[in-house]
Symmetry: C2
Subunit: 358 residues, 2 copies
């Protein structure tokens, strides 16, 4: 169902998208404030159900590529992602009918709102990951075998480029990542344009609404003095797999990504246990006392134990009391071809996927 | 004067362009063989004097970017540079009337021949450096303040990209270098298109003929059992500044460039002296017993003492008997703005330029 997002939806989106970010996608905090401001000035965000798109509709697919820690330091101007859409429109020679997120996770859930605010086109209630993944080829569109090119990239200093052809999806990641690193490990991008037909067939439908629903449940739980972590589990069909506190974070920005390991020391029923979380922008593998308890493509979400607020790989810090929750990935990402793009081996781990909610 | 290049011209170009490469631009050996073959199969290369270009003529400016050592290992397909011109033509929406070299030095002198062979357009007798320089912004067009974008880049695996806007010439170098490094420190490029007016005003005119003339003089000297090194000096208005043998080469491919230092031990009148040559693709600074005797933008050319054949930063090796010659740079590159782009400080040396032929 298509509708207009209100200020409450925008707030709820920030909470829900940050949960679905699985540690990555960038903290939505700054872009959320920006969109609150824009909404308060009268900008309306139209959310369109993908099933209502014309087959021939032209959909711009946007995200900010880079390392989450950089996005904390370099504030984004919403016009950058709007400009990326314009560069793409100039390249293909026609305008877009709507805009959608590449990834619903974290700050990237706000990119279509930012583009919409400046371009006046509606937002498709969908994304291509159903969460956040670190690399550009890790999308439902890649799994569907759709064309990876062209990609437009914009840096606010005025560097603009288009990758016009690549032999594989991985080469699109490589070429665009090289440019992203050169501009400071952060760049606004407009990915390969999609038709309405392609979005309806391959996008993760209604993920924007899903994120808003998670945020709304957390808000309700807080208002009702209920457990926000349980609210996330209930809204997202997840399960608490560990509770404890963060005792160490080893983090570095390298090769355009934020990589490292966070260590959690158990509390309550997990006392005397330890969890290690390895990450590349997102939490990828969770080990409980050396036993793998969760891997990509399943969602590993680290939440503040009290507020239910998600904790990102760039915001995790010593001493935080946390709940680790797991959510089973959608079937598309668990197919053989899905795992080729987003399974543990695609991320460099010689592991079979482990579902935290068996 | 416009004319058709014959097989002899192509051979002479290889020798002369390698001298003007000042160590860089890549050894012309492999591309020379390729163009010999293509010429023997009947392809004709039309050389057009820049003064004969229409003001509105559209000129493609081509080069292969990268580290010379890689170019020795990865053979070039002439279709790659032709493809870069095609990608640019598609981007700007119109065909080119002629093609010219970005740099006359080394293998890059052959890029317009390679493009011409596959596209059937004439070659402008000019380039934008009058030698070889390591970076993309080090051109007469940059010194002239012309627009640096767009740039098309092609890797034979099918990676194609266009840098559509940059805030400065240096950013064009940075963006295109990042892509070049990602594709293996070698990529075919078509730089910003130039009008006939721009070429006539800012290109280094008749540098292709100049390179051919140097090569012809060396060939004549060899045939006449005269000194080929003296032939280079006479043809190029250069001066021998050192003779000796190579006793050490410290060389690494890093950041998309070939960097290092070559050490020469003196012979004859230079016995007991030592020269150090620092390089970034090209020979940049020559020190004789710690005294700077030559710097960019002046041309520092290392020649085989017997054959007069140039020696590149990637082909220099222990034991070679060499003559080091210096050639004064053209006035444009010695202007204040010229030195901003190609002076020693632009290459990272806190030195004033030193002319080896005072």
């Amino acid at each position: 169902m298509s509708r207009t997002l209100d200020a409450q939806d925008v707030d709820d989106l920030a909470v829900g998208a940050w949960v679905l970010g699985t540690g990555g996608g960038g903290s939505p905090y700054l872009n959320h404030l920006n969109m609150q401001q824009i909404a308060s000035e009268g900008t309306q965000f139209q959310l369109v159900d993908p099933q209502e798109l014309d087959d021939q509709a032209r959909v711009a697919v946007v995200s900010t590529m880079g390392a989450p820690l950089v996005m904390q330091e370099r504030l984004q101007d919403p016009r950058d992602v709007a400009r990326a859409v314009e560069v793409m429109a100039e390249h293909i020679g026609c305008a877009f009918d709507a805009v959608m997120a590449t990834e619903i996770g974290g700050s990237n859930a706000f990119q279509p709102l930012m583009a919409s605010a400046h371009l006046g086109i509606p937002i498709v209630d969908a994304d291509a990951m159903g969460r956040a993944y670190p690399e550009a080829q890790m999308t439902s569109f890649a799994i569907g075998g759709l064309q990876p090119w062209p990609l437009a990239l914009v840096d606010p200093r005025g560097v603009e480029a288009i990758v016009t052809h690549v032999p594989t999806w991985k080469w699109m990641e490589r070429a665009s990542r090289a440019l992203t690193i050169e501009t400071g490990s952060m760049a606004a991008t407009c990915k390969a344009p999609r038709s309405g037909t392609e979005v309806k067939r391959w996008a993760v439908a209604n993920s924007m609404s899903f994120a808003i629903r998670i945020g709304a449940r957390v808000r309700q739980a807080r208002d009702d003095h209920e457990d926000p972590v349980e609210a996330v589990c209930s809204a997202a069909n997840g399960r608490v797999i560990f509770t404890g506190k963060i005792v160490d974070v080893d983090r570095r920005t390298t090769g355009g990504f934020l990589r490292g390991v966070a260590k959690l020391s158990g509390l309550d029923e997990y006392a005397d246990c330890e969890v290690e979380l390895e990450f590349q922008n997102e939490w990828l593998v969770a080990r409980l006392d050396d036993q793998v308890i969760a891997t990509v493509p399943h969602l590993i979400c680290l939440l503040d134990a009290t507020s239910g607020e998600a904790i990102g790989t760039e915001t995790a810090r010593y001493g935080q009391r946390v709940a680790l929750i797991g959510i089973t990935a959608p079937p598309l990402f668990l197919s053989a071809n899905g795992l080729n793009y987003v399974g543990p081996r695609a991320m460099g781990y010689d592991l079979d996927p482990v579902d935290p909610c068996p």
